[in-house]
């Protein structure tokens, strides 16, 4: 599992990879969370679970990543790491661990996940996706 940031004039773009679809989702979440909080370390204080659905893999990825913005803005929760992702067709279950955002000094620049240039594909036994975040 890995991710890297790509060039984009106004926004943040990344590519994430994994040897399974689930691993790729975890990598994408890591890229997303790095963009949200920078390189500060978040303590593993509390576990939370959520479920999302999507009409296809791209829709599922979009809704999955958006959940992290919701956790931060609505529940003041910063994710330290994704513990597990289970995907069954177009449904996803996720468990994350993290801490209350108010305990950290950081700035979140991410306004939204976008469909801009977004794709999910399987290539030579690997899953790859690209995502642009509106910042």
């Amino acid at each position: 599992m890995s991710y890297k940031f790509l060039e984009h004039t106004a926004d943040v773009k990344f590519r994430a990879e994994g040897s399974s679809l689930e691993e790729m989702f975890v990598a994408a979440a890591a890229a997303m969370n790095e963009t949200v909080r920078g390189d500060i370390k978040i303590l593993e204080q509390e576990e939370k679970g959520f479920e999302v659905e999507g009409k296809d893999q791209v829709g599922l990825l979009y809704n999955f990543l958006e959940e992290f913005l919701f956790l931060l803005d609505a529940e003041d929760f910063l994710v330290a790491k994704v513990k597990s992702v289970e995907i069954d067709d177009n449904k996803l279950k996720c468990v994350v661990v993290g801490d209350a955002a108010k305990n950290y000094k950081f700035t979140n620049d991410v306004k939204a996940v976008t469909y801009s240039d977004m794709f999910v594909k399987e290539k030579g036994g690997k899953f790859v996706c690209e995502v642009v975040l509106d910042v």
């Binding site: 940031f5 004039t9 106004a10 920078g38 913005l69 609505a74 000094k105 620049d109 306004k111 509106d134």
Partner: protein, 466 residues
């Protein structure tokens, strides 16, 4: 792509494959070079393919690549045959700028810059929510979404003169809280009164140069005066409204084959009307947000200057769709990273400015000059009453990080004599002037094209970024 030069400051993209109208770009040779470096011209062409678009697909001098529309994109649509696209408004609905004039001069700040900047930083971004003391109930949040800045003033955060100097008097009509999802409300509830991060900021500046004395006097600006710029938007609530309706429109109408990001719905369809109702709510959230921040700024500055006063000069939208009349015909104008620039006489302009035109506020990048312009009749004729909204990003954030370190960015600010308070090192690098187009050139083009005339130049002395 064919790009025809019309004048030193105007270019045309002639109608080709699927475009319903031509593209029109306000830019100089220097700016067009930069514009060619990303996908923004392609985006102007795609906007020209949207059903019901009128006259042309426009781009302002600070244009760069955005989501759907380019940033700096302006288009107007026939109310009966046209469409509304969340990509024509942006994720940060009513991302906007407010200018306050104060009763201080530069000399009053001497020696206190560091301390004041620090206290503003501590007071503002936390604001209400996130440990703040005002928790909004569902009903109260709905009142904010309908009442905007006027709601905030009624609650004691400011005075009536404040909202009289805001676009739409700080309260856009047609706001329908029932069309804002619970998720969007959940994201916004705790964020009212906070600046947010990224390119959002609070600047303390000095009126450095006055180009048009008569208009400056009417706006209440004079050389040497301390002024403040507040730049922020509708925070998580607006972002979620955009996301929700992009998804809903995709499900209902599918995606245009020329650009998925230009997903849209007919203006008069149920979904189109719902989006507009929700968008107006987000816009009002942003107006209320800046009203609260204004209140916090006033309270904070009174700790340093007992008789401190700050009046609202004007407050303008950057990301919005609005019904406006041109030559007696109502159209829906979408401005994405662009400013309304109405000339004299329009009834939308506050009474005391109506003889000269509306103020247009053009913030530069961190550390560079900002400008006050005045709207023109010509803008109403050639750009749907619109002009630029800022310096415009020229370099990607990743590129910025490669080109300049945090220390270099900080030294550069010190050399310019500017005190900076910031939330994180990355903002300092990404927002440094090295990453942006030359604001002086953007303003020169606006002035020469006649779509927004120079009134005053503002020089920053303190910058507070989220």
């Amino acid at each position: 792509m064919d790009l025809k030069k019309i004048s030193d400051v105007e270019w045309e993209i002639p109608v080709e494959d699927g475009m319903l109208v031509p593209g029109r770009v306000f830019a100089s040779e220097e700016l067009i070079k930069n514009i060619k470096g990303d996908k923004s011209l392609e985006q102007i062409k795609n906007v020209a393919k949207l059903p019901g678009i009128l006259r042309a697909s426009y781009a302002m001098p600070d244009m760069h690549q955005g989501y759907g529309f380019p940033i700096g994109g302006v288009a107007a649509f026939d109310v009966d045959k046209g469409v509304i696209s969340p990509g024509g408004v942006g994720y940060d609905i009513n991302c906007s700028v407010r200018l306050l004039k104060t009763n201080l001069t530069e000399a009053d700040l001497k020696g206190k810059e560091q301390e004041i900047a620090h206290s503003l930083f501590r007071t503002i971004p936390s604001g209400v929510g996130r440990g703040g003391d005002l928790k909004l109930s569902d009903d109260e949040l709905d009142e904010v979404l309908v009442g905007g800045a006027q709601w905030a003033v009624e609650k004691g955060y400011g005075k009536d003169d404040d909202w009289k100097h805001i676009e739409d008097e700080g309260k856009l009509g047609g706001a329908e809280p029932k069309f804002v999802s619970g998720r969007a409300k959940g994201r916004g509830r705790g964020q009212l009164g906070s600046l947010g991060a990224g390119n959002h900021f609070l600047d303390v500046l000095i009126v450095d140069e006055v180009f048009d004395k008569r208009v400056a006097e009417i706006f209440g600006l004079e050389k040497g005066q301390v002024v403040m710029l507040i730049h922020c938007g509708s925070r998580g609530l607006g972002h979620q409204v955009a996301s929700d309706y992009i998804k809903a429109m995709e499900d209902e109408y599918g995606v245009p084959e020329y650009d998925r990001e230009l997903v849209n719905a007919p203006i008069k369809s149920e979904l189109g009307r719902k989006y507009l109702g929700a968008m107006n709510c987000a816009a009002n959230f942003a107006y209320a947000n800046k009203q609260l921040i204004t209140h916090f700024v006033r309270e904070n500055m009174k700790n340093y200057f007992a008789d401190f006063e700050a009046e609202v000069v004007y407050d303008i939208c950057h990301n919005i769709a609005k019904f406006e009349k041109f030559e007696d015909k109502e159209v829906l104008v979408m401005r994405k990273g662009a400013t309304r620039s109405f000339g004299p006489g329009r009834e939308e302009i506050p009474e005391d400015y109506r003889t000269v035109g509306q103020p247009v506020l053009l913030p530069g990048s961190m550390g560079t000059a900002s400008y006050v312009l005045v709207g023109t009749k010509k803008a109403e004729e050639i750009s749907w009453g619109s002009t630029a909204h800022g310096a415009g990003r020229a370099k990607s954030r990743t590129q910025a990080k490669r080109d300049i370190t945090f220390e270099e960015a900080r030294k550069d600010m010190a050399k310019r004599g500017i005190v900076v308070e910031f939330g994180g090192q990355k903002g300092m690098v990404e927002e440094s002037p090295f990453s942006y187009k030359d604001v002086d050139e953007v303003v020169r083009v606006s002035d020469e094209a006649g779509i927004g005339k120079r009134v005053a130049k503002l020089r920053p002395v303190m910058v507070v970024i989220g």
